[in-house]
Amino acid sequence: MIGFATRRLLQAMVVMLVVALLAFTMFRFVGDPINQMVGIETSIEEREALRERLGLNDPIPVQFARFVTQAAQFDFGTSYQFRQPVSELFAKRIPATLELSFTSALFALVVGIPMGIYAGLNRESAISKLFLSVSLVGISLPTFFIGILLIFLFSVTLQWLPSFGRGEVVQVGSWWTTGFLTASGLKALILPSITLGLYQMTLIMRLIRAEMLEVIRTDYIKFARARGLPDRLVHFRHALKNTLVPVITITGLQLGAIIAFATITETVFQWPGMGLMFLQAVQNVDIPIMSAYLLLTAFLFVAINFIVDILYFLIDPRLRVGRP
């Protein structure tokens, strides 16, 4: 187990280095960073001096090493647009994105898993068929469209929920701001998290359903029934647990996707998170933000994957002992 974890950790580090290389190349090749930083009236000598001071004349491997070292300490340089350290900008935005992602993941799991179990156990019932057809809508409609639809219905027509922003936020600790503690903050969360989580919810539901159908047919479920175990034990202790391994994989990856690709939802709802900031950075060629976003996303995915791999061990005893 420890050997496995170390091997995975090493692999994760290699992935991060490759991503860092990509992020680094962005600096080098997407425009001249000096041009982005200084005005038109700066003389060539001054530009050269700045170049020297920023270390842009050093050999590329040296620059890369410096980039990685700084990135490892959360130092991603200064934003061209805002003239502020990128890490501070992210720190301000991260709580919004994480709260939104967390809520929508929770929504996807809490609604998706029971629906999946129900549809797996009662595949012929009318409700299961309804779930399936509705979920088809969830999968086939693009996120921004669902968002706009929800805004139109609940904000414009019914005027129940706000159409943009986080509502009132409360400062917790030195830098975290939360919308969980105010009524308007919670209200503002509803529409965006449904928009963001709908796709994952249908995915989880369909996955659990398919896995359930598979597991229900296995011999050990038949044998559990033949031993006279009550349905509750058969379904939840034996069947559900055996469906979990693939479900955890997908859920883990989807959680990464929710955090990383909240961009569209954040744009539709003007949610002040990282995604919105990233989009603005792209429009203004703000490379430090873009490269930091790239690294952060990659880090999230790698970290989640690592956790998922470790979870396998906890669920499946067959992996715990070494292969024969």
Partner: protein
């Protein structure tokens, strides 16, 4: 008094167009402490009887008529909840495949305890104590430690013991065992049957054993019910039914069972057995393509010579050679196969017999030793052309007729593929003609070429595999358990077909099987394998009459005795 009484049981599976009657008016009964065997081939409805008794019929199947009594109390009409309470409490069940019938994510203990506590009002502690006693009773050493383990930490035979312990959790009065030993090796089968017999007598349990295996029936049952297409054709005491069968189906079924004690030239082909394919159009081998250009270089001495063959697989890779782990599948094996003979390899699962087949055909590369085919050393062939020439001369027939044929190709294309690949025919129309002839010759008929593999039964598919193997005009045929997935009557036909083909074409065969009885019918000489080593090579008759190696003797003793079985049809055949 009878524990189980089944009266005029009828089970139906309504389909889209018609109703399929799986069990059609069956009567049987079993007393406490006795074992009733239900025997029949696939589709006979024998498992359906078991499922109907325990109330686990697959939807939309249902009991359409008749009555089932447990200790005189009618149980077939009980509501779902009460039926569930019978399961495990009054009726225990044992399934075929011990590898899949336990939940892989729960310890043996938790599965036992949950079952015990479902049925008996015991505290967690007492239930645990009882679980340990049960594990001890089914003969698993170190019950206190073993019980904490997960199913994958047990071997197949041990898992079947766990399954039996689970079935006995609440002291049921009736145990239904559906093919309890089919997935097990002979030696394990003997132990499990012994255990079942013992438990049945000690605990005074009535047992219903469902099997296709006449050996199991002869070995442990007191009474036997023979089923055919949903009908009960014969029911009576085992010695009576097997020794002097009355019904023609029972007679033909018994005559199709391969015996380790007598060798027959051909299995009698009997009515009642379907798809008894006989060549529809005989080919004159001397003039036909199939018999022509068999101008292989003549060999003096054996056709295949295997010397000190070694094969090991890496089971744990590491960059440090000292930390790598290997599994030695084949250890220093040497034997010869003469031109025109059938050489048998027999052994239990994991003995390395299939690995040898794969080594000869070049699917694996050996880690040591040599394989000489004629005058060619196969292990050092580099040139692709030479490899192809060799491959054309040897063909393989696999065990599983379901996965060894490409489901997306028509049968005609499956058989034409090797002919085209090796460029053995001059034109497409000739290929077509050859394929038709081959299909005729293996008893399927040329029309079969239009269809896809899924339209055929297991036995017919195995005929397709044989036709495909013949399509390269091989001189050496490797059959890896070619009939172990088939019913006995179908097996008899396939074995007949292989014998005929060998005689006509002068094929040399390597015949691999775990079944000594089948080996005896097919082979001239036999090699016995165990743990990758070849224990003994001797002539067929000598091996059975006077085995030299202790392991061979052990294997022969473990075989279920077939002496009960009637010989009526054999002598006439």
């Amino acid at each position: 008094m009878n524990v189980l009484d089944i009266k005029d049981l009828k089970v139906e599976f309504p389909g889209r167009k018609s109703v399929f009657v799986a069990v059609n008016g069956v009567d049987m009964s079993v007393e406490a402490g006795k074992i009733l065997g239900v025997v029949g081939e696939s589709g006979a409805g024998k498992s359906t009887v078991g499922n109907a008794v325990i109330g686990l019929l697959q939807e939309p199947g249902h009991i359409a008529g008749g009555e089932i009594f447990l200790h005189g109390k009618r149980i077939d009409q009980l509501p779902y909840k009460e039926k569930r309470l019978l399961r495990g409490r009054k009726i225990g069940m044992i399934f075929q495949d011990p590898l899949t019938s336990l939940d892989p994510l729960q310890t043996v203990e938790s599965q036992l305890v949950e079952t015990i506590r479902t049925h008996l009002p015991l505290s967690g502690k007492d239930a645990q104590k009882r679980a340990i006693e049960l594990i001890d009773a089914v003969g698993i050493p170190n019950p206190e430690e073993r019980i904490k383990q997960y199913p994958h930490q047990f071997s197949g035979g041990m898992r079947q013991r766990v399954v039996i312990a689970l079935a006995l959790c609440a002291e049921p009065e009736l145990v239904i065992a559906d093919e309890p030993t089919t997935a097990l090796d002979v030696s394990i089968q003997a132990q499990i049957l012994e255990l079942m017999k013992k438990l049945c007598a000690e605990r005074n349990v009535a047992m219903l054993v469902i099997t296709h295996d006449m050996g199991v029936i002869a070995d442990i049952t007191d009474h036997v019910a023979v089923m055919y297409h949903g009908d009960l054709v014969e029911f009576g005491e085992t010695t009576q039914v097997l020794g002097a069968p009355k019904h023609p189906y029972t007679q033909s079924l018994i005559s199709a069972v391969p015996r380790p004690d007598i060798r027959v030239e051909r299995f009698p082909v009997v009515n009642y057995i379907e798809e008894a394919g006989t060549p529809q159009k005989q080919i004159d081998i001397s003039t036909h393509w199939l018999g022509k250009s068999r101008d292989y270089e003549k060999v003096t001495g054996p056709l295949v010579q295997i010397k000190d063959l070694d094969m090991r697989f890496e089971t744990r890779g590491s960059i440090f050679p000292s930390r790598r782990k290997y599994f030695q599948a084949v250890k220093k094996v040497s034997f010869d196969i003469q031109e025109g003979e059938t050489f048998g390899l027999v052994g239990e699962s994991g003995s390395g017999k299939s690995t040898i087949a794969r080594l000869i055909t070049g699917l694996y590369h050996p880690t040591g030793g040599s394989i000489l085919f004629g005058k060619t050393e196969l292990t050092s062939l580099k040139n692709r052309k030479d490899v192809l020439t060799m491959r054309r001369q040897m063909q393989m027939i696999f065990q599983d007729p379901y996965s060894s044929l490409n489901a997306r190709l028509r049968v005609r294309d499956i058989i034409a593929e090797p002919i085209k690949f090796h460029r053995l025919a001059s034109s497409n129309s000739e290929v077509r003609q050859i394929v038709d002839d081959l299909l005729d010759h293996v008893g399927l008929g040329a029309a079969a070429g239009q269809k896809f593999p899924h339209e055929f039964s297991g036995g017919q598919r195995q005929r397709i595999s044989i036709a495909r193997a013949l399509a390269t005009r091989p001189r050496f045929l490797i059959c890896d358990e070619p009939t172990s997935a088939l019913d006995v009557s179908i097996q008899a036909q396939i074995l007949n077909l292989l014998k005929d083909l060998q005689e006509e074409l002068g094929l040399t065969m390597l015949f691999i099987s775990h079944d000594l009885a089948v080996i005896r019918q097919m082979c001239n000489r036999i090699g016995v394998m165990r743990h990758g080593e070849l224990c003994e090579v001797s002539d067929c008759d000598q091996l059975f009459e006077a085995p030299q190696h202790p392991y061979t003797r052990e294997l022969l003793e473990l075989m279920p005795s077939m002496e009960l079985l009637s010989r009526a049809n054999l002598e006439s055949a």
